[in-house]
Symmetry: C2
Subunit: 358 residues, 2 copies
DNA sequence: ATCGTTCATATGAACGTTCAAAAGGCGTTG
DNA sequence: CAACGCCTTTTGAACGTTCATATGAACGAT
């Protein structure tokens, strides 16, 4: 007997009947308790608990003309390529109940962000608004959503519409500045930088992270050489090899991402340098990659960003709220062995050939 | 002027009025076109297109007493810890439209899977059913869902209810057997195994992967030594060091996961062995870790699993379907430099100290 | 006693959809 | 030509909720 009998869920009428009141009184007990006489309120609440009643989302949505949901596009092409996409989605999910919404992820199979997907989600009244990620210069989505009058909020700047403040982002400059301070505190001589090349479509992220390093290291007088590479382990390792040619043990490298930092670790290990004692390395993102490899990194404030974005959306949906301007949130430095000068590299960092040093 | 006018979405009545028919005819045009006279059908369809009408999910859900949604728990504790969680969610999202459902992710903040979250999702009629991941021995969820009559399907076996077939999983044994074949084809002398220790709660996954290696390597006469370690880079690297003591250049290692394989690569590099030419390494999961490090791995058939699970759910929701029994899906071997005997290790695999060998 | 006030609770209506059933048109048949 | 059947289209009802409004009871003031 594999078929299961569906326990029929309680409705507001079931509660009303059980508590011997009208459905409106039950509704009031939940939404406007001050209108209900205390004795009645208690009785109704008891029945609500007993029957395990929760209002139907569909019926509420019907009445309010709101889906109570936020759409989030999962890029089927990138898949897991970004180290932060997954934790960010989790943080959005955790934050959602605080804003009385739930999330509806959707994906497009093609390479290009199909505005069609967004359109149909709204037409089916599946969602009221969207959270955008990976916005870039020439991104058609903000333009289109704006035109269609659909609220949205972006993780990252809205490049083609700098006048819009419906976004939240990581303060990259503040992050790398922290990294430079930390390396200085730990006694590393200079802080080199391995970043991204000036990109066509979203150079601001790259610029900000580099800027924080350059400014702070300039102030402290610890600025080392810099170099750029793609967000790719092989390319980062190659670039790091070149960068390390200009460094000596006792120096450090600030990186634009954890993946790049991993490349630096590899290049350093190949050279026989111990990560930490001989070379300080700081990554960016606070990703799984960082924690796995004992990397000091800048943990993105994803829970705060998620909360801020949902707040922006509910404000827009509520109607009146004026554009509050974008929010820059500061990442948190998490320290690992990669900037520990006293402890030798742990077992799981790439090791040089045995007997070669020390 | 930041406030936007909400373009009011078309309803079935708008279409009916425009096409000069009744709402039911519009409904029929969409759901039972054979009941509508061709000329009328064409006229209605034209108006549907012109107005961009799509039925309201809430209203349909109301009528059908179905949410049309599947709940997926995102574990806020694991966060991005699993290499497959993110791609799996993406694959579920991609597969969802094929089954006429959408997904609703939800999370619990606490460490233990709170059955309460599942319960409330159903009571609010937000979802009709659930996809479970990370099922394990003693998992309270299957028991509870079964009792409550809520359909579910699990990625991974349902350990406490082996009689239930509402699951799909990766065929671990078939995977590692492929790995052994591949290593044999490539001319590696023996295939050692670095797996997981017999675990308290979900030993079947570990057993299956080991079994596939043991059986096939036994048949081919290439079985090397084996060892176990936790799913942790440091532990894997340490264990690999011990395992490599029993191997020689020309041997290979099959690993229970990509992370463990990475540990093997580190241990081998520390020893001055070139990955590929000196030591073959095969991981499991086909994760981002694998592709980043040029690792030959067994790509989990996540799109197929996602599709199978949603199929199981829609069958259950449709009512009659008998338990079809669990499905084991075969992973695909993806080759990388880590099992290429001719090409030297690429730049991004950990390198030994320069000048040390070759 | 009659009237307004206030508080507590109840009823009607509507949101958008689809099932069930009714109704209208038209050709065939007894 | 009335009765029947078929094809197409329309109407009524219901899903569960909440807003707007109505009803009723209690009470103080005239």
């Amino acid at each position: 007997m594999s078929h299961r009998s569906h326990a029929t869920r309680a409705t507001i009428n079931d509660v009303a009947r059980a508590a011997d009141v009208s459905r409106q009184t039950v509704s009031n007990a939940l939404n406007k308790p001050h209108l209900v006489r205390p004795a009645t309120l208690e009785r109704v609440r008891a029945e609500i608990d007993r029957l395990g009643y929760l209002p139907s989302q569909a019926a509420q949505g019907m009445r309010s003309q709101r889906a109570g949901a936020i759409g989030v596009e999962l890029n089927a092409v990138h898949r897991g390529a970004s180290d932060v996409a997954q934790p960010f989605l989790t943080d959005l999910t955790v934050a959602a109940p605080r804003h009385d919404v739930h999330l509806v992820p959707f994906a497009h199979g093609t390479r290009f962000p199909a505005v069609d997907g967004y359109r149909d989600m709204v037409r089916r009244r599946l969602v009221d608004a969207f959270v955008l990620s990976d916005t870039h210069l020439g991104d058609p989505r903000p333009e289109w959503l704006l035109e269609a009058g659909i609220p949205f909020a972006a993780f990252g700047r809205i490049y083609d519409h700098p006048e819009l403040g419906w976004w939240a982002d990581v303060d990259g400059a503040a992050g790398t500045a922290q990294a430079v301070d930390h390396l200085h505190d730990r006694g590393y001589r200079t802080a080199a930088y391995l970043g991204w090349p000036p990109h066509k479509d979203d150079s601001e992220v790259a610029d900000a992270r580099r800027e924080g390093w350059l400014t702070r290291a300039g102030e402290l007088g610890t600025a080392g050489p810099e170099l750029a590479c793609e967000q790719d382990l092989a390319d980062a390792t190659l670039a790091a090899r070149t960068l390390l040619d200009q460094l000596e043990p006792g120096d450090a490298v600030v990186c634009a991402s954890d993946l790049i930092a991993l490349g630096v670790m590899y290049a350093a290990a190949a050279r026989g340098w111990r990560i930490g004692p001989d070379l300080g390395v700081v990554g960016f993102d606070g990703s799984l990659t960082a924690s796995r490899h004992g990397l000091t990194s800048l943990l993105q404030p994803l829970p705060d960003i998620a909360d801020a974005l949902l707040g922006l959306l509910t404000d827009q949906l509520a109607g009146g709220a004026d554009d509050p301007g974008g929010r820059l949130l500061t990442p948190t430095l998490t320290t690992g062995p990669s900037t520990d000068r006293t402890t030798a590299a742990t077992a799981y960092t790439p090791l040089p050939a045995p007997g070669k040093r020390r």
